[in-house]
């Protein structure tokens, strides 16, 4: 689907355009949201993101790719949720310690997963990903899994390219350290 035609359809509030947008971007956006937040709120965020697209599509001037704009909307909604979580967590600290919100669903039983499971236990792997900070998970997702450019990531998270590079460098380092902690690093194998 030609992006220009899709944007025109979206601006004219045509239902076919929203259906195409959903089919094309919902799985990718959902995966990013899930990476960033954990399993909680994925569908709520996704719904809110599409409603925001509907309301604000006229503000989209085409300076960036439509996908970048969409990711930015979804990431901003996630940031609000994380900020609310932080406040709630702060409030509950006195009553409840180690309140971990990011709980991932058990992985799908695909070949890739089975291959990985030969080398690491499920529990250890769950801990590795959960221990990463939300921002680290987002950067790794966008760059190393979705293969986005640094410029696009910078637009999505609204930070300079240099900051994105250094943060990603740190996130990768942190993930590697966590892997080493569970015995999956250069020193143990």
């Amino acid at each position: 689907m030609d992006e220009e035609r899709l944007v025109k359809g979206l601006k004219k509030k045509q239902m076919w355009a929203y259906e195409v947008l959903y089919n094309e971007y919902a799985p990718r956006l959902g995966s990013v949201i899930k990476s960033y937040l954990g399993t909680d709120d994925v569908e709520d965020v996704l719904q809110e993101a599409f409603i925001k697209v509907y309301r604000n599509i006229k503000k989209f001037r085409g300076d960036s790719k439509l996908s970048t704009w969409l990711y930015r909307i979804a990431v901003n909604i996630c940031k609000d949720i994380i900020s609310k979580r932080a406040k709630k967590k702060e409030y509950l600290t006195d009553f409840q310690e180690n309140d971990d919100y990011a709980t991932f669903e058990p992985p799908a039983s695909t070949n890739v997963f089975r291959e990985v499971m030969d080398e690491l236990s499920l529990e250890e792997l769950m801990n590795v990903v959960e221990k990463l900070a939300e921002d680290d998970r987002l950067l790794i997702r966008l760059r190393d899994i979705d293969g986005m450019s640094y410029e696009d990531i910078a637009r999505i998270i609204d930070k300079p390219v240099g900051t994105v590079k250094s943060r990603l460098h740190y996130a990768r380092k942190r993930l590697k350290e966590l892997l080493e902690e569970v015995g999956y690093g250069e020193h143990s194998r």
Binding site: P27, Q47, E105, V112, L125, V129, L179, E186
Partner: protein, 166 residues
């Protein structure tokens, strides 16, 4: 260049595999394996219900201006109809000078509304027919029904008569 820099460079620019040492390769393998797992675990497949729900919300938002328009038109229509109804259905109550003989005039008015009086007569209520009711007895009753006003009228009190078709 440190091991971590090499891996970063490899991930960003894709260095040829030959330039990585055995340790780096192991390191990189571990990282890529973790990435594969991360991708698996965060893979999201939206359900059909989810799609319907999102599109329903969009459709609803799309129809909102039209719904508001219809509502506004309905409100204007209701206002016009109500205004017309209340402005054309006013019961005016005016005081009226019934001198020089107000009591007689009141009596005549009472007589002129004959059918209405008949229908409320006690005989009718008990099942009597129109023919059975004597006009004289009706007049007597009418006189008695307004008798209590005679003294007030003589004393110069004003009387108001409300005439309605209902």
């Amino acid at each position: 260049m440190s091991t971590r820099d090499k891996i970063n460079e490899y991930l960003d620019e894709g260095l040829p595999g030959g330039e990585l040492s055995e340790t780096d390769r192991k390191d990189l393998k571990g990282y890529l394996t973790a990435l594969a797992l991360f991708r698996e675990r965060t893979n999201y497949k939206p359900s059909k219900d989810m799609k319907n729900s999102v599109l329903k919300k969009v459709r609803k938002a799309n129809l909102l201006p039209y719904r508001l328009g219809v509502l506004a038109v309905a409100c204007v229509l209701m206002f016009v109809v109500s205004f017309d109804f209340f402005s054309s259905n006013v019961i005016e109550i005016r005081s009226r000078d019934i001198s020089p003989d107000p009591f007689e005039q009141l009596l005549m008015l009472q007589r002129s509304s004959g059918p209405l009086v008949y229908s409320f007569s006690p005989e009718m209520a008990e099942g009597a027919t129109d023919e059975a009711v004597s006009p004289i007895s009706i007049e007597d009753r009418l006189l008695r029904s307004v008798e209590f006003l005679r003294d007030d009228v003589k004393a110069g009190a004003d009387l108001a008569v409300v005439s309605s078709t209902y």
